[in-house]
């Protein structure tokens, strides 16, 4: 069946390329429009869910990549060399979460939220390829604005920045209330 062939092609492509491949490239290679291609890939993702599969397809902002399932981690530690990831300090994580949620954001804005100079943290995040410059703000001084990278999505297991846990005004309020409750709880003890 036609669909089967397409799935096979896509599997071969993702396996061979190793890295994240843009949807439009896959579509061009298999000779179908992006819409169809996306449907086929999403369908494949369901197949990969099955218990006898050790690999999965992940989606990263319109690109797709093959990787192992997290449940396979233990067996892999027994045989494969597991590359060491950068451990992010609290300072870096804090700066990164501000950038992730507020992107595109200038360094000044980051510093305003953190209350401290953040050059070092921003540069480190750039070095780790988790953050990059995305352009300049059309404002006096044309400051650089920063955003997160594809590597960020991969490292934190999110498909797109929209998929980050939502923190709209309501949620913030919830969080504030929660924090308040927590405080009161502590007071009662």
């Amino acid at each position: 069946m036609e669909i089967d062939k397409l799935e096979a092609m896509i599997e071969a492509i993702l396996f061979t390329m190793g890295e994240a491949v843009d949807l439009n490239r896959i579509a061009l290679a298999i000779g179908h429009d992006e819409e169809t291609t996306k449907k086929v890939i999403h369908n494949m993702m369901d197949h990969y869910e099955e218990e006898n599969r050790g690999i999965q397809i992940i989606e990263l902002e319109g690109a797709f990549q093959l990787c192992t399932k997290t449940s396979m981690y233990e067996v892999l530690t027994k045989i494969a060399h597991i590359p060491k990831k950068h451990t992010l300090t609290d300072v870096l994580l804090e700066t990164l979460s501000i950038i992730a949620y507020k992107q595109p954001i200038t360094k000044i804005e980051i510093e305003k939220i953190r209350g401290v100079k953040s050059d070092h943290a921003v540069n480190k995040l750039i070095e780790y390829n988790l953050v990059c410059e995305v352009g300049r703000l059309d404002a006096p001084g044309k400051p650089i604005v920063f955003g997160t990278t594809e590597e960020f999505l991969r490292s934190f297991g999110v498909q797109s920045i929209e998929e980050l846990p939502v923190i709209n005004a309501d949620k913030v309020e919830d969080f504030k209330l929660e924090a308040e409750k927590e405080v009161q709880l502590q007071l009662e003890i």
């Binding site: 396996f15 390329m17 190793g18 981690y73 990831k85 979460s97 209350g115 924090a179």
Partner: protein, 252 residues
């Protein structure tokens, strides 16, 4: 009171304030400003850092706290107004925002730990197509970028950088305005040495006035000596340094 406590290190003033609020088990919406300010100042007083940049950030917050404190101590002139504006409000907002990102960063940390458990695979392009190297079409890449556009971009970069430079400090720059470049200086010395063969360091310096000139000239001499183009000799301490040109050693 008075028990020596090892000072914790805080990332910044907001971090410290959150810690104090937490430690005193007080409501973030109703910060007892006198108590917190007191403890904050106590901490800052004992801060070990000699980094002025860090210190100044803590001091700015100290000033903010004192300002809030004094505003709260002032008699309330207009009750209506007072109800609307709590002098602590802005600080509370900042603290809450900061706290929220701290909270999020913990979430992200968990996410990262999970995501780190997947393995990727290196590309394995079959031999038959391995030789293929993707061509980059420069013309397409450059699109409508012209030389003059590139030029405008550079000018705006320079302008931005100039804007950043403190105008008072930059005026000091006018004392030594010409650019001195080590390799230029080296060719100058080499030419001078070719002409004069043997000469004193002081003679070489006659035409050069600035301190920067002197330093770069000296560096140039050291470099040329290293390559063997010149030899130098100083009979006694503080005596003029005698420079001799070695024609044989000259590299083409």
């Amino acid at each position: 009171m008075g028990i020596p406590v090892k000072l914790e290190v805080f990332e910044g003033p907001l971090d410290l304030l959150l810690h104090l609020i937490d430690k005193n088990k007080v409501n973030i919406y109703d910060i007892p400003i006198v108590l917190i300010t007191e403890q904050y100042l106590e901490y800052v007083k004992n801060m070990q850092t000699k980094d002025l940049n860090i210190m100044s950030e803590f001091l700015v917050m100290a000033a903010t706290l004192i300002k809030i404190k004094s505003k709260m101590l002032l008699p309330k002139e207009d009750k209506e107004d007072e109800e609307k504006e709590d002098p602590r409000q802005e600080l509370v907002d900042r603290l809450l925002e900061y706290k929220m990102y701290k909270f999020i960063s913990e979430e992200l940390k968990d996410k990262q730990q999970d995501a780190a458990k997947v393995m990727f695979k290196n590309p394995s392009i079959p031999d038959e197509i391995r030789d293929y190297k993707e061509e980059i079409n420069i013309e397409e890449l450059l699109g409508d970028i012209t030389l003059s556009k590139l030029h405008r971009i550079f000018e705006s970069v320079i302008k931005k950088q100039a804007d950043k430079i403190d105008p008072i400090r930059s005026k000091f720059g006018q004392i030594e305005k010409e650019e001195i470049n080590l390799s230029d200086k080296m060719s100058y010395i080499e030419e001078f040495a070719k002409k004069n063969h043997t000469f004193g360091f002081r003679k070489l310096l006659e035409e050069q006035c600035s301190k920067m000139d002197l330093i770069v000239t000296f560096l140039g001499i050291l470099e040329l000596m290293k390559t063997g183009i010149i030899q130098i000799l100083q009979e006694n301490l503080f005596e003029d340094i005698l420079i001799t040109y070695d024609a044989n050693a000259s590299v083409s």
